[in-house]
């Protein structure tokens, strides 16, 4: 005890710090460690033996100072032993990490889904094979309507078709649960179109349906605007023009101001300032009757549009067949 107490701690500290400052290699550094901070060095021994609080505090604080010096010395030595990388070419690529890409159509589909999720809509997955009742009859499509033609629609048998639009999901959704119902349904649709730059017998559509009390065409227009602002940037405008679909009355086409030229006129919008985006309307009361909902209580709007069209417009793809060729040189761009 006495021998320990006899140590001149100020000198000990001075010596130790000087020793750390002089250590030039890791070996010298460990020699200093052993001498001043090792198990058998005076300071750790004194710490084990100390019994009074003030002495303990003082020794602990000394130990902390020495450890700081030890750390600083170690860092200095490590720094000094680094290889000289001042000439390294940092523009040489790093080690490759593999990554793929989501298909552009999936990226856009997710973006659309997310916008609608944010507006409080559900995402619906509908079957692509539909009954004639779901695809046409329940949507009040007259027996002579051209969309039913065998020249336009893939029939599997007299009662079954490959859905020609995502609209049968309106019927399935309304049959599956009671309103209020706010849903969006993306998926594959089929029409007997000969493939070319802007037609494909298989294409992706998104259906949007809102059923609630007191829904108006103004609600449709406002929702469409929100959607396109989210997709094409703020400051969009939308407009509705008269149209005809069997299952909406009134029916409209909606246009959005061109996001390339902001309405001034360019090749994308054929110098009109507007881009046609899809069809929409106020849900025909007879559609509600077909799914046993009371049109006096429930009203709704529906709209639909193509995913490929959005992708082509936004990314300047001239030919939609590229979406189905899956060329990595194309997929890798998006």
């Amino acid at each position: 005890m006495d021998s320990v107490a006899a140590v001149d701690w100020a000198a000990y500290e001075q010596e130790a710090i000087a020793a750390y400052e002089h250590a030039g290699t890791l070996d010298e550094h460990s020699v200093v460690n052993v001498r001043y901070l090792g198990r058998k060095a005076p300071l750790p021994q004194a710490l084990r033996a100390v019994r009074d609080r003030a002495g303990g505090l003082e020794l602990n604080s000394l130990k902390a100072r020495l450890e700081a010096a030890q750390h600083a010395a170690a860092m200095r030595i490590a720094q000094a032993s680094l290889p000289d990388l001042s000439g390294l070419d940092v523009t040489i690529p790093g080690l490759p990490v593999e990554r793929g890409r989501l298909h552009l159509l999936t990226q856009i589909r997710r973006e659309i889904e997310d916008v609608f999720l944010g507006m409080g809509y559900e995402v619906w997955d509908g079957n692509e094979v539909a009954t004639v009742w779901e695809n046409f009859d329940a949507l009040t499509t007259t027996p002579g309507h051209p969309s039913r033609s065998i020249n336009d629609t893939f029939y599997i048998d007299d009662d079954t078709v490959l859905r020609t639009h995502t609209s049968p999901d309106q019927i399935r959704a309304m049959l599956s649960r009671k309103p209020p119902l706010y849903m969006v349904s993306p998926g594959r649709c089929y029409r007997r179109d000969t493939p070319d730059a802007t037609h494909s017998p298989i294409f992706l559509q998104v259906e949007c349906l809102a059923v609630d009390r007191g829904i108006t065409l103004a609600d449709l227009q406002g929702t469409v605007l929100q959607f396109f602002c989210a997709l094409f940037g703020e400051d969009r405008e939308v407009r509705m023009r008269t149209s005809h679909f069997p299952f909406t009355e009134p029916s409209v086409e909606f246009d959005v101001t061109c996001f390339i030229c902001s309405g001034r006129g360019c090749a994308t919008c054929k110098h009109s300032g507007w881009i046609e985006m899809g069809g929409a309307g106020w849900v025909d009361p007879d559609v509600f009757r077909n799914v046993e909902l009371d049109p006096d209580e429930w009203q709704g709007f529906a709209f639909g549009f193509g995913i490929e069209r959005i992708a082509m417009l936004r990314h300047g793809l001239p030919d939609l067949r590229a979406f189905w060729e899956n060329d990595l040189r194309v997929l890798g761009q998006f």
């Binding site: 990554r99 999720l117 033609s149 706010y182 939308v238 005809h244 106020w282 990595l328 040189r329």
Partner: protein, 763 residues
């Protein structure tokens, strides 16, 4: 439909600029594709270059056998010298001339004074085709001889017109006529709609026309008028110009008149050569089995008993509403014409058109539904024109008609419009708009629908649209006021995104391949009765064929290291109902079995599901494959693209059913793990996966992890055996495991493997 504006103005005098009219029609009535100029451009005084000329001299060009050299008086002091390639005229002819500076139809070509084979040509003598007045380009156009040379051509010929190109909607058959569009324009612009044109000529004769309609359901009205002394010939220039402007080809005055009235009023008409009608009579009936008809397009057609035909005393002479027959065609020798104005049901015409794969102007109108009251005005107008333009004498008529149903009366509430639009439209405006459109509105708001809108407007909501379409630009922008609100992906939708993201992170590119494929692993895959092509005939039951095609395409275009996946439906036949459409995940990768397997393990790992593989051969000719929960992974046999390829396919619903609902925390921090490597010698045929499963079972709660390290065959291992090494770690959430614990756990594992697989621990 192409609408010559001069024709439109004949029915409605509007003063809006055309662009403005087109812009507004787009909102209220129909798509307007564009406004184009037909014929001579009317800009910068161009019309003054187009003049009436009289040929003073005409003779062979001295240096060219095929050219004429002429002197033409165009009202100037000196005649002009003009070289011309046509020979259908001589001195004295009155012709249409364009002088240098004139811009020709199309706007691309300006006439200049120039030398042709050494002779000056100071203008051009014009043909019908050059003026876009008709098809005749064989010779120049001859004008009436009493015209004064120098008269502007525009004063005597419709040399140019503006054309509105519109697309009509399915529910607006009334807009497939110029008059119907004029009605719409009158409502839009507030201009007056003139009365429908046409006055019956004097009847001269009382011949009976025998008409019988057997199918009154499909043909509710048939008027046949007989005309004698018909002088068949060409139509006057104004009529040709109108037809050409509307996109139809002039043929002869009689045929042109039927087309002109169809375009003008909307009711298709047909003219038969009456002398060719057996027994001079008309029977409207279904075709008999085995009957044939050569239609006017020169095609011999096998008629179907579902086809409604117009027949004479013996044979079919036309497919109702679609096309007439060659056997009764009006031609050069025709002097008697039976003119048909009828009313055919849309479905009958539609089905015939589909069956015979035909598409005619007449058919497209019938399919949408022609105003049932239109046959009368149409035949009247056509009769007037036949008398005026073909010297025809109206000598007889027959008619069969079913009483028309009374016009629909709809009880309407103007408040409904506001409820639908979210915009208050004043009652007076609604009433005025409806009345202007031809509806009559009673004091109690019962609305009577005009015959030309009867098919489309049947309910109060349809009346709303009639008002609403004129106010679409004023509808405000609001959002639904919601009582309940939530928006979220389902569990399966979130997991689907996760799986996609895991694969993208692992270097895979997402592909979209066709749901319809040329072949399928399942012989029961649903086949389309009428596919678009043999490449798209089967509804796939697996994603593998499409992905293989996508991989092949990539190799063909020179891409390497191909890794693709797809998430899509497949279509599994179910007896008596629509197919089930489970979501599948498929992948294909360049490389051996273990590349595909690694991807599958990454997916299972991300979803916290322990995969269990069993040897299987899911792919025909593949050297190796395995079944795993919810699907398979395999290496393909030799492929035409070359190299090793492997693939996998998982049913996502089955896979997601294995995903733990929630992950419970295990304490892996408080007490340290013990690690140990164990190597066993086992028979060659023992699968590593089974050893791992046995180690897990034997290790119990305290076994934290077991990893495959290597499998080895070689010098120190007996033939028919292999050595498999694993790294295992033990850990307890309750205490630090001791050396004794390690020995105990190790013994449990060694004993279990010895018992189950005769495995010997290697020292």
């Amino acid at each position: 439909m192409k609408v010559p504006v001069s024709w439109l103005r004949e029915y409605v005098a509007f003063d809006w600029p055309l662009d403005e009219l087109a812009r507004k029609l787009v909102f209220t009535s129909c798509e307007v594709d564009r406004v184009v100029r037909r014929g001579v451009p009317d800009t910068d005084g161009n019309l003054r270059h187009f003049l009436v000329g009289r040929v003073l001299e005409a003779g062979k060009h001295p240096n060219a056998d095929k050219l004429q050299l002429t002197k033409v008086d165009v009202g100037e002091a000196e005649p002009r010298s003009i070289v011309c390639g046509a020979w259908n005229f001589g001195a004295g002819a009155t012709v249409a001339v364009v002088v240098p500076g004139g811009v020709m139809p199309g706007g691309e070509f300006t006439i200049e004074k120039r030398k042709l084979r050494g002779e000056v040509s100071d203008g051009m003598i014009l043909s019908e085709r050059e003026l876009e007045l008709g098809q005749d380009g064989g010779g120049i156009m001859l004008l009436a001889g009493d015209l004064e040379p120098g008269t502007p051509l525009a004063d005597v010929l419709p040399v140019g017109d503006d054309i509105l190109e519109i697309e009509t909607l399915y529910n607006r058959p009334d807009l497939t006529s110029i008059y119907g569009i004029a009605r719409e324009v009158s409502v839009l612009t507030g201009s007056e709609l003139k009365p429908m044109p046409g006055t019956d000529p004097a009847r001269d004769g009382d011949e009976v026309v025998d008409i019988r309609v057997e199918e009154l359901e499909s043909c509710s009205r048939y008027i046949g008028r007989l005309f004698r002394d018909v002088q068949l010939g060409g139509s006057p220039a104004w009529l040709k110009a109108r037809l050409v402007g509307a996109g139809m080809r002039p043929i002869s005055n009689v045929v042109d008149i039927t087309n002109y009235v169809m375009l003008g009023l909307g009711n298709p008409l047909h003219a038969f050569d009456h002398d060719k009608l057996a027994e001079g009579r008309i029977v409207v009936r279904l075709a008999h089995a085995g009957e044939q008809l050569e239609t006017l397009d020169g095609t011999a057609r096998e008629l179907d008993p579902g086809d409604l035909v117009i027949a004479d005393g013996g044979r079919p002479i036309g497919i109702a509403g679609v096309m007439g027959g060659a056997n009764t065609e009006v031609g050069a020798s025709t002097t008697s014409v039976l003119l048909e104005a009828a009313n055919f049901e849309p479905l009958t015409v539609l089905r015939s058109g589909e069956r015979h794969r035909m598409r005619t102007e007449s058919q497209t109108r019938w399919e949408k539904g022609v105003d049932p009251e239109l046959a009368g005005p149409a035949i009247t107008y056509a009769s007037q024109l036949l008398a005026e333009l073909a010297g025809a004498r109206w000598s007889g008529e027959g008619e069969v008609r079913v009483e028309s149903p009374a016009p629909a009366v709809i009880s309407f509430r103007p408040g409904y419009t506001n409820q639908v639009l979210g915009l208050a439209v004043p009652e007076a405006e609604q009433r005025e708009r409806l009345e202007h459109l031809g509806f009559s509105v009673a004091g109690d708001w019962s609305v009577t629908v005009p015959s030309w809108r009867a098919r489309d407007v049947r309910r109060d909501i349809d009346v709303v649209e009639e008002v609403a379409r004129f106010r679409l630009e004023d509808v405000p922008l609001t959002l639904p006021t919601r009582q309940a609100m939530f928006g979220r992906l389902t569990h399966a939708q979130r997991l689907r995104r996760q799986v996609e993201d895991v694969l993208v992170g692992a270097g895979f590119f997402e592909a979209y391949t066709y749901s319809l494929q040329p072949s399928d692993p399942d012989p029961n895959a649903i086949e389309l009765p009428v596919p678009l092509s043999s490449q798209q005939r089967l509804l796939r039951t697996s994603l593998s064929v499409g992905l293989l095609g996508a991989a092949r395409h990539n190799v063909d275009v020179g891409n390497d290291d191909v890794r693709l996946f797809e998430v899509a439906h497949v279509y599994l036949p179910q007896p008596g109902t629509v197919p089930s459409e489970p979501w599948r995940l498929g992948g294909i990768v360049q490389g051996d079995f273990f590349r595909a397997k690694g991807a599958v393990e990454a997916i299972f790992g991300a979803l916290h599901v322990e995969p269990r593989f069993e040897r299987a051969l899911p792919v025909a000719n593949g050297p190796v494959g395995a079944a795993v929960q919810s699907g398979w992974v395999a290496q393909y046999g030799p492929l035409d693209v070359g190299g090793d390829w492997s693939a996998f396919e998982l049913d996502l619903a089955e896979l997601f059913a294995l995903v733990p609902e929630r992950i419970l925390y295990r304490d892996v921090i408080t007490y340290p793990p013990l690690r140990e490597d164990l190597a066993f010698v086992v028979d060659e045929g023992v699968p590593a996966g089974e050893l791992i499963a046995a180690i897990r079972a034997a290790g119990g709660e305290e076994l934290r992890d077991v990893r495959f390290l290597s499998d080895y065959r070689g010098d120190q291992i007996p033939a028919g055996k292999k050595s498999i090494a694993f790294s295992v770690s033990f850990q307890s959430p309750e205490r630090t495991l001791s050396d004794e614990d390690a020995l105990r756990l190790r013994a449990q594992i060694v004993n279990a493997l010895a018992a189950q697989f005769a495995a010997a621990l290697r020292a």
